[in-house]
Symmetry: C2
Subunit: 284 residues, 2 copies
C-alpha cells in the first residue's frame, strides 16, 4: 500500500492510501502532485499539502461560495483569487444571476492538471461565457483593478506560505476593500483554530481584516482532510452582515441543490466555540 | 519517534507521536493503553481507538453535558452510562443544582487508571458526595432502575462494537425512555457522518431513537482526534426540544466558564449539513 502523509502538526499526521501517483511536477510556483485512491478518489497536493479531493471537495466549495450569495443574492460580478482547481468558479457559475466571473490563478498548471485529472471541479469552467480566466498574480491584479468593480471577492488560497503569502497581507486586504462596491463582500480562506501554527495565522488574518472592514466575521465548517478537520472562512464586508442580512428565502428560491450548505447551517456556521471566539477577539 | 496510529477508514489513518507508553493492560473487557506525548498530552485508547486526550477532551465533555442543561436547567438526577474517564461526571457536577449523579461504568480499570494518569478528567469525581459510582453493566442497571427516576441519561460510550454494543440497541433505548421522567433527556454518543462504517452506525442509532422518542435530534461538534473530526451526539426527549426549549438566559446565569460550549453554538450545533440531514432523514 502506498501512503500520502501530511504532518498536521509536529506531533501528528494524517495518511491516505493511494493506488496511483497520477502526476508529479514542479511548476514555477510549487510542487504539484496528483494521486488516486479509493476513499478520497483523485486528490492533489501543493508542496505536500492536501488541496482538493473528490470526497470532501463539496464541503469546501459549498462553504466558500454560498454564504456570500445568501447574504447578498444580488451579486453579479465576482473576482476569484486563486481557486485553481475550478471548484469555486463552478459553484459561483451555478447562479444564473451572476454576469461576470474573473478568476486570477497564479499557476496555470494547477488549472490545466485539474482539467485533466479532476473534472469534478474544473470541467466546464473555462467554457462558460461569463468566465474570464487570468493566469497571473492575484495581488498585482487587484492593485490595478478599478474602484468598486466587484460585488464579491473570494480568496481561495493556500496557507500563508510561499505562493499564498501575499494574500494574507494588510496591503492586499486594503486593495480588496477599494475594489469592492458598497455592498461588497470579501470571503477568504481563514485557516484553523486548533493546531498552533494554523491558529496563529487565523488570528493574524482576523486582526488585519477587522481593522479594515467594519464587518469582519469568521465561520466554520467540517473539512475532514484538512488539519484537525475544523476550518474557517473569513466574511468581511462594508455593509452586509452575514447574520442580520441573511436572506434565506431568496437564497432558497435559487433552487440550488447543495450537499453541505443550507441556510440553517449558514447561521450555525457563524456560532463559534468559545475558545475560537476568544482567540479571534469576537465579542459574544 | 514512537507513533500511535489509528485507522480512520480502510484507506486513511491518523497518527500521534508519543514519548511514553505509560501503561498497557487487558482488562476483562478491553485493551487499555495510556500514552503521553507533546501535542495531545496524556491520552488513552480502548482496543486501539482514541478515547480521551488532554488537548481536546474539553470539546467532547462540554458537548455531551451542557446542551441538555441549557434545554432543561432544572436537571437534578443524572445517570451516566459509561464515561469511565470521569470527564462527563466532572462537567455534570459543576451544576450546583444537580443533586444526584449515578455513573455506571462496566470497566473499573478505566476509571482507576484515569485517576492515576488523567486527573484532568477523573480527579474529584469519586469524592463528590452527590456521586454514586457503580462498576457494572449499564444495560443491566437501566433494566432494574425505577420508572421516571432520572432527569437526564448520558450514554458516554465507545462505538457499537464489543463493550459498547448493547448501548446502541432498541431494547436499551426503550429502558432509557421508561427510566426518564416526563421532562427527561437522553444524550448519546452518536458516531459520525463522514466515513461509511461510522455513518452506518449513526443512521441506525437515529432510526431506533426516533421510533421511541417523540423528539430525537442530532447535534455536531468538531473533535479533531476522532475519525474525520466531525462527530455527533443524539438528543432525545419526551417533551423538551433542544431548540424551542433552549433557555439561554438561565444557562448563562449558571456562570460556568466553558471553553467550547456557548448558547449560540448550541443552536448552531443542531444545524446539520444537508448530506447529514438526508442520511438521518431529518426534515428541513
Amino acid at each position: 500500500m502506498n501512503w500520502y502523509t501530511e504532518q498536521w502538526s509536529e506531533d501528528c499526521k494524517f495518511s491516505i492510501s493511494y493506488d496511483e501517483h497520477l502526476h508529479s511536477e514542479q511548476s514555477p510556483f510549487q510542487k504539484i502532485d496528483f494521486y488516486k485512491g479509493k476513499e478520497f478518489g483523485t486528490f492533489f497536493t501543493l508542496d505536500g499539502l492536501m488541496m482538493v479531493n473528490e470526497k470532501d471537495q463539496f464541503i469546501y466549495h459549498d462553504m466558500i461560495v454560498h454564504p456570500a450569495f445568501a447574504t447578498n443574492p444580488n451579486i453579479k460580478k465576482v473576482l476569484i483569487i486563486g481557486g485553481g482547481d475550478g471548484g469555486t468558479a463552478r459553484e459561483v457559475l451555478r447562479y444564473p444571476t451572476v454576469e461576470e466571473v474573473v478568476m486570477v490563478e497564479i499557476d496555470e498548471r494547477v488549472f490545466r492538471l485539474c482539467q485533466e485529472y479532476l473534472p469534478v471541479t474544473a470541467e466546464g469552467v473555462e467554457e462558460d461565457p461569463r468566465m474570464s480566466l487570468k493566469f497571473e498574480d492575484g495581488l498585482a491584479y487587484v492593485k490595478e483593478a478599478a474602484d468598486a468593480s466587484f460585488d464579491l471577492i473570494i480568496v481561495d488560497s493556500t496557507d500563508p506560505i510561499s505562493v499564498g503569502e501575499g494574500l494574507f497581507t494588510t496591503a492586499f486586504y486594503q486593495e480588496c476593500y477599494r475594489v469592492l462596491n458598497t455592498d461588497g463582500i470579501l470571503i477568504n480562506q481563514h485557516e484553523s483554530p486548533y493546531f498552533a501554527e494554523y491558529a496563529d495565522n487565523m488570528k493574524k488574518a482576523r486582526h488585519k481584516l477587522s481593522t479594515i472592514f467594519p464587518i469582519a466575521e469568521v465561520y466554520q465548517y467540517h473539512m475532514p482532510t484538512y488539519p484537525s478537520g475544523h476550518w474557517l472562512f473569513g466574511f468581511a464586508s462594508k455593509t452586509k452582515h452575514p447574520i442580520t442580512n441573511l436572506d434565506a428565502q431568496k437564497w432558497n428560491a435559487f433552487g440550488l441543490k447543495t450537499k453541505y450548505y443550507n441556510t440553517d447551517l449558514h447561521l450555525g456556521a457563524f456560532a463559534l466555540p468559545s475558545y475560537v471566539r476568544e482567540a479571534l477577539k469576537i465579542a459574544k
